[in-house]
């Protein structure tokens, strides 16, 4: 076939773009261990800034190159500001907390970009030379794509030189291998981190600007890019630059040919590649095992039962919640119902993430599977709500168990990334498999039976189920199983040495978390009258993380408080201002900086201090 060569070249051009967006992410992660969710936003800023600069410059190639470099510099500067204003303050926080801060930054940048550049997408008018092409095997191939193919390896080479031939590079590599060691050598870590973050941000800006001739500056770049970049970085091996390059080529070329062979599964293909690579090479293609042992010794505080005062407070809150339908109107009752669902959503994530030690970037998958289980049962078998509410946790539990069986040996960020991959596959299936799931139109008519149609009984049912399950989860955490799960998290070798089956404990935790979350999804579905792919979207997964981390990872009450605060805050903001993303993002950043152990954690610390004084 004559189209093989052009298709291969096209794949390589895609690969270069992928490498540009992931190089910065992997360098930042390697040194600072920060999963930078705002990397896509930096690239989006790069595209917009690039557009603003390039549309003001003459249209010759040399000016184009200059404009691109200027954009990279400008984005690097923004990176410096970001690092010094936000991230620097949260380096000492528990792992993944920085992720929360960077997500706040994502929200802020979304609204700021909208305010500065407006809602319409901004394509860069292409001068003639950017529209040029060469003949390859009888097809026209864009000249600019050839340029891109060259830029990828060029950037890799320059970065390699910087990392291997300069003192700065030596420090960066040392920090990637062993952060504490570099600190012990008396290197100014702050400046090193700032410079690395600036480099990463600059690379994101470069990627954004270089994407302009083939695309446009638009408000959707941030989230679509971040998913791609995560996949590349994880497949290549976290922190490995050559790995990121290899992964980019693998994914770019596979995608180019995948489009010809199976045009409908391109979205799933990328995540399947990731899943397959991680199952066979748990640290990615060229990644090293993480040096996590030392960080694990910064142990979680001892979990103790709630003090009587807190129990009293909880009981009072519960009494108030039960009486709520007599106090508040119809709308606020649905918000409270949503809050009940949020409690299940957050408490289930906390179960696997806190005591289980397994972070998830894709918790919405179980939520969605529960909702779809109920919806599909109704759709195809006419099953009534009680059956749906039963089937949802069963289905979500089974799927999460199967998933757990594959991923249980992974840990940390790799595990979290696989959960993200799984959630994206589930999302793609629900979004694209229209015949079964109804696609983005969703499954409709998922309403409760007559006795629960009124908001009041439905709220009481949601409250009973959510509080009941949350209490069961709490009970399990204080029971031998919960202790064993925590033991496996604290020290897997020690847990094995006393005869604990670490893998099985973790799979069961995933099953329990998945089932509880799935129940939440079903309650939500009947409350909204439908099931939609948005239930499984990345932002929804991030919401679960937000609730858990805001509330506090190390207290059982944390996720509940986080769920209530987040639901209330989001509802008030969305209804009071169109700039709710900006405000919410700012609130998140402030909370993260002020309460690095979450709201419940901070309260507990103050309480304990009062005790010991």
């Amino acid at each position: 076939m004559s189209s093989i060569l052009p298709q291969l070249l096209t794949g390589l051009a895609t690969a270069s773009s992928l490498f540009l967006i992931s190089a910065g992410l992997t360098i930042i992660f390697g040194v600072s261990r920060i999963v930078n969710f705002s990397h896509g936003s930096l690239m989006m800023l790069g595209a917009y800034i690039g557009w603003s600069i390039l549309t003001r410059l003459p249209r010759e190639p040399e000016w184009f190159a200059l404009g691109i470099l200027a954009t990279a510099l400008a984005t690097a500067l923004i990176g410096v500001v970001l690092e010094m204003a936000v991230l620097r303050r949260v380096y000492r926080s528990p792992e993944l907390f920085q992720l929360l801060a960077t997500f706040g930054v994502v929200l802020i940048i979304q609204d700021v970009t909208l305010l500065l550049w407006g809602p319409t997408e901004l394509p860069l008018p292409r001068p003639r030379w950017l529209r040029g092409f060469v003949e390859v095997a009888g097809s026209r191939f864009p000249l600019y794509d050839l340029v891109l193919i060259a830029i990828g390896p060029l950037v890799l080479g320059l970065l390699w030189l910087a990392l291997n031939r300069t003192r700065w590079g030596t420090l960066v590599r040392a920090a990637t291998l062993d952060r504490e060691m570099v600190a012990a050598l008396g290197v100014d870590q702050r400046r090193l981190f700032t410079s690395v973050f600036a480099l990463g941000a600059g690379l994101a800006g470069l990627g954004g600007a270089l994407s302009l001739p083939n695309a446009s500056a638009n408000l959707g770049i941030d989230l679509s890019v971040i998913a791609d970049a995560f996949v590349v970085v994880v497949v290549g091996g976290l922190g490995s630059l050559p790995g990121a390059f290899l992964a980019s080529v693998l994914i770019g070329v596979l995608q180019a040919f995948g489009i010809v062979l199976v045009p409908k599964i391109t979205l799933v293909l990328v995540f399947l590649v990731m899943a397959v690579v991680l199952v066979f090479r748990p640290n990615g293609l060229l990644g090293r095992p993480q040096t996590e042992a030392r960080e694990a010794t910064v142990a979680a505080p001892v979990v103790r039962p709630a003090p009587p005062a807190l129990r009293l407070l909880g009981a009072a809150a519960l009494a108030l919640a039960v009486a709520a339908p007599f106090i508040v109107g119809g709308y606020y009752l649905t918000v409270l119902t949503d809050a009940c669902v949020a409690i299940l959503f957050a408490a289930s994530l906390h179960f696997m993430m806190g005591p289980g030690g397994m972070a998830s970037f894709g918790h919405a998958a179980w939520f969605g599977i529960g909702a779809y289980a109920a919806g599909l049962l109704l759709h195809w078998a006419g099953a009534p709500m009680p059956l749906g509410l039963l089937a949802a946790p069963v289905a979500a539990g089974i799927v999460s168990g199967l998933f757990g069986w594959f991923v249980v040996r992974l840990s940390g960020v790799y595990l979290a990334m696989l959960t993200l991959a799984f959630a994206q596959i589930a999302w793609a299936v629900s979004f694209q498999w229209v015949e079964v799931t109804g696609g983005d139109n969703g499954l409709l008519g998922v309403w409760p039976p007559d006795w629960a149609r009124d908001p009041r009984p439905y709220y009481w049912m949601a409250l009973a189920l959510s509080v009941g399950v949350a209490l069961l989860l709490r009970r399990a955490l204080y029971a031998p199983y919960g202790y064993a799960l925590r033991a496996a998290r604290d020290s897997a070798p020690r847990a094995r040495a006393i005869g604990l089956d670490v893998e099985r404990l973790r799979i069961v935790a995933l099953v329990i978390a998945g089932a509880a979350c799935g129940l939440g999804g079903a309650i939500f579905a009947y409350g909204k009258g439908g099931v939609f792919p948005t239930y499984i979207s990345i932002p929804h997964s991030v919401e679960a993380l937000l609730m858990v981390l805001l509330g506090g990872l190390q207290t059982v009450a944390g996720p509940i408080i986080g769920a209530l605060v987040y639901t209330g805050l989001a509802d008030i903001l969305v209804r009071s201002t169109d700039l709710w993303r900006l405000v919410l993002g700012a609130v998140i950043v402030v909370l993260v900086v002020a309460f690095p152990e979450g709201i419940a954690g901070a309260v507990r610390r103050l309480w304990l201090r009062g005790r010991e004084a």
């Binding site: 909208l114 695309a215 696609g439 009258g529 948005t534």
Partner: protein, 403 residues
């Protein structure tokens, strides 16, 4: 770029305060409107502007049933679940008389479900999915804009006149794209049995790998291409297609591409000679449209977009429906909206009794370059009632309980 700048400023002014427009006179009739203002600002902000314009004009004329209209808008963030929650707020807390809105099909369907469940009137403006009034149609849901079927059917009609025999399709892989391709194939094949569909491309929505997609289409050697891509996907696709010569000596028919929301960003790379549905904007010289466009430009200092037309017509259709019903009682409004005629800048239209679909029509024409911008030329307006299938077919598609 001057136009864009001003539009932005106008938009950001509107951004700061979610709409709450009040007019003098008796208790206002409240319209609670929900849309994806933060998720799809490029489309929904001009739409909201035009709604505000229409409310002001209606109230200046003395309102409806002697009462002013009041418009309350909410942002669904692109999530149907949020839309349903906010519908609860609008209905239970703010006691709106009519629900309206939605840009995304899933949001529209979710609101339609809510309306049917809670027996409230819901008038959808933008959503395109056929399910709104057919498979998932219900007594309480009306929809203004021409549906996916209507858009695909006029394009199939145009495509049937062409010599092209080997067709390929490229479409975002989700319900809208799949429906559009399904109808186009069905309707074109019915008119032209000699036509062959030799391949299809299904990029994921918002994530098209344009180079590879264009290369794959090129490899199929088609005579004609049906494009359903829009937004950023369209921009990327057109650029790669231009450079790689995909569109040369081929016919392209393309859904929605003539709408300024999608055509303007293409700038001087707007393709020439594509047969598209869309909105010619200020080139329309009927008195009704001139008045609308003039008032819009005077108020917002920007040209009306396709969304503006829809937003403006939406408010007018609601006003007409309530006037015909003579009441804001829900069941009487349903009966009143059925068969209600209303004027839009594009022409007179009505809500059909049989499926509660509006007969707002479709502009179809060809794309061309004027200076550095794409425009629609040789366009004509086709009344929506001529684009819908026979009553018999519609009755078969719509659930019996929906009337």
């Amino acid at each position: 770029m001057e136009v864009t700048r001003r539009l932005v400023l106008g938009a950001s002014g509107a951004l700061a305060m979610p709409g709450l427009l009040r007019a003098q006179g008796g208790t206002p009739i409240r319209i609670g409107e929900i849309n994806s203002y933060t998720a799809q600002p490029a489309f929904t902000l001009p739409y909201r502007n035009a709604m505000q314009l229409a409310v002001e004009e209606t109230n200046a004329r003395g309102g409806v049933l002697g009462r002013p209209l009041e418009l309350i808008t909410r942002d669904d963030a692109g999530r149907p679940q949020d839309a349903v929650r906010l519908a609860g707020e609008l209905v239970n807390d703010l006691k709106v008389d009519v629900l309206a809105g939605a840009y995304l099909s899933n949001v529209g369907l979710a609101l339609g479900e809510y309306a049917a469940q809670n027996k409230r009137l819901y008038v959808a403006g933008e959503p395109l999915t056929d399910a709104m009034v057919w498979e998932r149609g219900n007594r309480y849901t009306f929809r203004l804009r021409p549906s996916t079927y209507m858009q695909a059917s006029i394009l199939a009609e145009e495509a049937a006149k062409l010599p092209a025999k080997r067709w390929v399709t490229v479409s975002p892989n989700y319900e809208f794209g799949q429906s559009a391709v399904k109808w186009f194939r069905q309707l074109l094949s019915a008119r032209r049995p000699d036509v062959q569909f030799v391949g299809e491309q299904w990029p994921a929505l918002g994530r098209v790998d344009a180079g590879a997609t264009v290369q794959a289409l090129e490899g199929m050697r088609p005579d004609g291409i049906l494009n359903v891509l829009f937004g950023t996907d369209l921009t990327n696709f057109v650029r790669q297609g231009n450079t790689r010569g995909l569109f040369e000596r081929r016919t392209v028919v393309s859904l929605l591409t003539g709408e300024p929301e999608y055509l303007d960003p293409l700038g001087d790379e707007a393709p020439e000679g594509w047969i598209v549905t869309g909105y010619p904007g200020e080139a329309i010289d009927t008195p009704a449209h001139k008045a609308f466009a003039g008032a819009y430009r005077a108020k917002f200092n920007a040209k009306p977009m396709c969304g503006s037309l829809v937003g403006y017509a939406l408010i007018n259709s609601i006003a007409a429906g309530i006037a015909k019903a003579g009441s804001v009682e829900v069941e009487r409004m349903v009966e009143g909206f059925r068969g209600a005629r209303f004027d839009t800048p594009a022409g007179s239209a009505e809500y059909r009794t049989i499926d509660q679909q509006g007969t707002l029509g479709v502009y179809v024409g060809k794309t061309a370059l004027r200076g550095n911008a794409g425009v629609m030329t040789d366009w004509r307006y086709i009344d929506g009632k001529d684009l819908l299938p026979s009553d018999e077919v519609v009755r078969g598609l719509r659930p019996a309980g929906a009337n």
